[in-house]
């Protein structure tokens, strides 16, 4: 085969033309890398935020919190920002065509691409720009206008949500406050099907689950929290610019397939949302206070603290909150119909119902229906086919000629971010069994029933690692009075509509008097079920009385047979004398029937007076009896929350 000379030249020239274009990515890449080094881009805060780099604890250098291999393009990308940046630039030259399962690196890492493009001004002739259709479609569906931080309040009966939860909502341009249900929510959660609460808690502590971001219609979240779990939701609308919102979404897209080891305490839902916000606005420093633990309400507080970041807040009461409020507004005639209608034991044909005016009928049917939903959601369906009963109530409602009433539930005066700080220290002094003492006490997290209640779920106490040290003036000297790694109390009042169980558990060491008068620190586990009521008016009053049946197991080598097992009642009342002044009289007795036998009891009165949000005075007086010895204690202390 022989080509004419001219043709050969043409071919050669073509090769000449082709040669530079195959060589160009390499040279252009070298140029980009060179410029990135000149500009020291890998040291920039934006790059560190995008890669989730955080300083090593002991050694110099950084590591990324991301745990998925695919998040890094360089083999050492988890610890080397420069190497990762160069590998990222190289990957942008990839000619992978986007499919439903695969993306070009420019699209898969679109926030990195966008930032590096801004810094290096990519020449699209030498580094062709990918269309990234999947991302564009996704973004178009979200049609973002802004971002709202969503905070569903704590739910003690769900171990994964004891402190509440946070997620983000992407608000679309064509929505308003009446149609926000249609927005999308970005949620970070442990990806697991675990249904065993204990296994969940343990794995959550040690990072045993992969944490992942997901996106879903906001209405699913509202139904879940408001209707199924009966948790109030707080919405904090953030003041992000369109560019910041875009950065947030691009980064969420990048994190889609990425997992992080999920840690219940620190690297949890709330922590990673803060990181997303830091990517959106690199000037923000939100995460640094949360190196050790990130309590959702504290992260909300941190966001509110940033000047001008929150522009508006919206309260979305749960189904139970709405029912409770509407029941409180009802006349006795109306109230008497709710339970029978919701349980299918009365009909709208009954005289008691028919005699009511239409507005009243409408109200009764609406609340009966909502109450039936509540019963279903809490697993206490009163009839075989609750769906059909609900349908009947609604059909009746549609026939009543009365407009919608839906009285707005008053917004609680204190938002979750406005409550007292979750850490507490106290200093005080008093007298115990004839000895004066001064006391120091600390509690890292979170809230007890005697703390100022605003912003917290009423009746819910969670404390971790509460401890007290006392210095007795004579004889005893300095000693640890008690250490309580865990204490949870859930007191929920019962009435004719709501019948929750109360419960409590505490685990820790406390002083226990022995027959010889010595007082070793004895380990104990104590807890049990209880019941509570509000008095005198079940729907409007805030004074609560409670009773628990407690079981106690104590262990110490100084005890007879090394242990003591007991059972006994505890009763008390929580009384708000004024908005600032709360009192709790209590009495408890135990019958230790196995091991070291004894019948100890205690009666006392705790009082708290709130000075300001983060300061309170406490006065506790008590009389106790153990091993046939009785003594009095009085303690006055000043508490500070932070």
């Amino acid at each position: 085969m022989s080509f004419p000379l001219r043709a050969r030249w043409t071919l050669l020239c073509l090769l000449c033309l082709l040669a530079p274009s195959t060589a160009s990515p390499a040279t252009y890449l070298d140029e980009l890398i060179g410029r990135s080094r000149e500009q020291r881009l890998s040291e920039r805060r934006e790059w560190h935020r995008l890669m989730h780099y955080t300083s090593n604890l002991v050694t110099p250098g950084v590591h990324s919190l991301a745990d998925a291999r695919r998040f890094f393009l360089a083999p050492d990308g988890k610890t080397d920002p420069q190497s990762e940046l160069e590998a990222t630039l190289a990957a942008f030259f990839s000619d992978i065509v986007e499919t439903d399962k695969e993306q070009n690196p420019q699209c898969a890492f679109i926030a990195r691409y966008s930032w590096l493009d801004q810094q290096l001004r990519f020449d699209s002739a030498r580094l062709p720009r990918q269309p990234c259709k999947r991302f564009r479609d996704w973004r178009e569906t979200l049609n973002p206008q802004g971002v709202t931080l969503i905070f569903p309040a704590a739910s003690l009966n769900n171990p994964s949500s004891m402190y509440g939860h946070t997620l983000l909502r992407v608000d679309a341009k064509d929505q308003d406050e009446k149609t926000r249900l249609l927005a999308y929510a970005i949620n970070y959660a442990a990806n697991t099907d675990e249904t065993n609460g204990i296994a969940f808690a343990i794995n959550g502590l040690i990072g045993g689950y992969p944490g992942m971001f997901s996106i879903m219609p906001y209405y699913l979240k509202v139904r879940e929290y408001n209707d199924m779990e009966n948790r109030d939701i707080w919405e904090y609308q953030l003041n992000l610019t369109p560019e910041e919102t875009d950065r947030l979404l691009m980064h969420a897209w990048e994190l889609g397939p990425i997992y992080f080891d999920y840690y219940f305490f620190d690297e949890n839902c709330s922590y990673y949302l803060l990181e997303l916000l830091e990517v959106a606005r690199p000037d923000l420093d939100l995460t640094s206070p949360f190196r050790w633990w990130a309590i959702p309400s504290d992260t909300v507080r941190e966001i509110v603290k940033q000047k001008g970041l929150v522009k508006n807040t919206v309260y979305r009461p749960s189904n139970a909150t709405v029912i409770h409020y509407r029941l409180g507004l009802m006349s006795p005639d109306e109230l008497a119909l709710i339970n029978p209608l919701a349980r299918g034991t009365a009909s709208t044909a009954d005289r008691a119902f028919a005699a009511l005016p239409p507005t009243s009928q409408a109200r009764v049917l609406e609340v009966s229906h909502d109450y039936l939903s509540y019963l279903r959601a809490t697993g206490r369906s009163p009839v075989e086919d609750p769906q059909e009963l609900a349908r009947k109530l609604l059909l009746e409602r549609s026939r009543v000629a009365a407009g919608a009433e839906d009285p707005p539930v008053p917004v609680p005066p204190v938002r979750p971010d406005e409550g007292h700080g979750t850490s507490r220290v106290g200093i005080g002094g008093g007298r115990r069994d004839g000895l004066n003492f001064v006391e120091l006490h600390g509690r890292p997290v979170y809230h007890d029933l005697m703390d100022p209640e605003g912003g917290y779920v009423p009746g819910a106490q969670i404390e971790f690692f509460d401890f007290a040290v006392r210095d007795y003036s004579r004889g005893v000297g300095v000693r640890v009075e008690d250490i309580t790694p865990l204490k949870i109390v859930s007191i929920a009042p019962r009435n004719e509509f709501f019948q929750p169980l109360s419960w409590e558990i505490d685990v820790g060491w406390a002083r226990r008097r022995l027959a010889d008068g010595s007082e070793p620190l004895v380990f104990g586990v104590n807890g049990g079920p209880g019941l509570a009521w509000t008095v005198p008016d079940t729907l409007r009053s805030k004074t609560m009385i409670y009773g628990f049946l407690e079981s106690t197991l104590q262990a110490n080598t100084r005890l007879d047979k090394n242990y003591a097992l007991g059972i006994g009642p505890a009763i008390g009342a929580l009384i708000d004398l004024t908005g600032r002044w709360r009192a709790e009289p209590y009495a408890r007795a135990q019958w230790f029937f196995a091991g070291d036998t004894d019948t100890p009891w205690a009666v006392g009165l705790k009082q708290r007076y709130t000075l300001e949000r983060d300061w309170a005075l406490r006065l506790d007086i008590s009389r106790e009896r153990q091993e046939k010895q009785s003594w009095n204690t009085v303690l006055l202390s000043l508490h500070h929350y932070f």
Partner: protein, 166 residues
């Protein structure tokens, strides 16, 4: 002649089969693989709720960002053809409540979703309220609710224009 009859018969049968299949694929929430399922068996017992909730999501791909096409979602967001059916499926109880009252956030959101203009909102609310027993017939599935809503709107002169966008 016989051959022609057979051919006609076969084509009718296949057309019917095709139509059935098309109907099954269109607006049939069951083919999404979630939706109603998400709300089944939710009786409020903590461990059960835990499985799909808050800090523990079940391991499915439906809501994964960048997971491609999965049931009714594309990269985690609901595909436009499913939007209305999905919304009704996820909000059935609240929607029935709002319709029976003729007002409410869930109803507003539905109206917005199917593009009911502001001037037609009052008529829309009135019409669904008057027909709530038809829209939410006894024991009806989401698919049946969707079809019934379509019919109710379709038979109203002002609102017929919106029936198509469900």
């Amino acid at each position: 002649m016989r051959k022609i009859l057979i051919a006609v018969f076969l084509s009718v049968v296949s057309a019917l089969a095709f139509a059935q299949k098309a109907a099954a694929q269109q607006n049939n929430i069951g083919t999404c693989g979630w939706g109603a399922k998400l709300f089944d068996g939710q009786s409020g017992v903590a461990p059960q709720v835990l499985a799909v909730t808050t800090n523990g999501t079940s391991g499915n791909q439906t809501f994964g960002i960048t997971t491609g096409t999965s049931g009714c979602t594309q990269d985690g967001v609901v595909r436009s053809t499913w939007k209305t059916a999905m919304f009704i499926d996820g909000n059935k109880e609240r929607l029935a409540r709002d319709m029976s009252i003729g007002n409410g956030e869930t109803l507003d959101s539905l109206a917005h979703l199917i593009g009911v203009r502001q001037e037609d909102r009052a008529a829309f609310n009135r019409t669904v309220q008057a027909n709530v027993s038809r829209i939410f017939a006894s024991g009806s599935t989401t698919d049946q609710v969707v079809v019934a809503l379509k019919e109710v709107l379709g038979s109203d002169r002002t609102l017929a224009q919106y029936a198509a966008s469900i």
